[in-house]
């Protein structure tokens, strides 16, 4: 059995925030891997970029994902990327996002998928 202690993980969120629970699941997974000191990158791809939208006001009883994003750094999820083409397609400006994710164009996306030990899509 491998004695390696860390594996880099790319968590990919492909869902908008409030229609289903997948976006929340992706954030929880990224935080858990970071809490156990695994190098984690969180990527919002395609429809997932809606999770980054500013001005979210969910009703009481629903977890505020916009605010939850703000705690990612505290958990040690340092690297957060957003699919640049998907942001543009959905009219989301980087400066108005709930979290200053780094816009990733296709060459960066290819690199992210090719360089992490594990890729967990949600």
């Amino acid at each position: 059995m491998s004695t390696q202690r860390t594996r880099s993980v790319l968590v990919v969120c492909r869902s908008a925030p409030y229609g289903r629970s997948r976006a929340r699941d992706a954030i929880d997974l990224a935080m858990a891997f970071a809490a156990f000191e695994q190098p984690v990158t969180l990527l919002f791809l395609g429809e997932g970029v809606f999770t980054l939208a500013g001005g979210q006001q969910p009703p009481a009883g629903t977890r505020h994902l916009g605010k939850l994003l703000g705690t990612l750094a505290d958990y040690g999820v340092g690297q957060v990327f957003a699919d640049a083409a998907a942001l543009a397609e959905r009219g989301l400006a980087v400066r108005e996002l709930a979290l200053a994710a780094e816009p990733a164009h296709d060459d960066t996306l290819r690199e992210l998928f090719a360089t992490h030990d594990r890729v967990i899509t949600v």
Binding site: V12, R14, L45, G46, E47, A85, D106, L109, R110, L112, F113, A114, H116, D117, R118, V119, T121
Partner: protein, 99 residues
């Protein structure tokens, strides 16, 4: 090198499209479940583009058969069973599931 596993029909969502954007030469794509609908004639351009980018194509034979798709007649497509699915995950450093 990465094994991409597509579980979603390209007519139902954007998984195949997103997979295309992130896949690179030397990767492989396995069509499973409704992902085998990517073999429909009208989705052929996407698969041609993947092949042109150097991505090897496979499909789960039983999922094709279940859906009335003749996988053996698709040129350049490797039809596999679950044993072949396991082998593909072993032959690639990581897998990415699209659903």
């Amino acid at each position: 090198m990465t094994l991409h596993i597509l579980f979603e029909s390209p007519f139902a969502g954007h998984a195949l499209e997103e997979c295309r954007r992130v896949a690179g030469a030397g990767d492989a794509l396995l069509l499973a479940g409704d992902g085998v609908y990517a073999l429909a004639d009208t989705a052929a351009d996407a698969l041609h583009a993947l092949r042109a980018d150097g991505i090897a194509l496979f499909a789960l034979a039983e999922d094709c058969a279940a859906r009335g798709i003749a996988s053996a007649e698709v040129p350049g497509l490797g039809a596999v069973d679950y044993g072949g699915f396991v082998e593909l995950t072993l032959a690639h450093e990581r897998s990415v599931s699209w659903f």
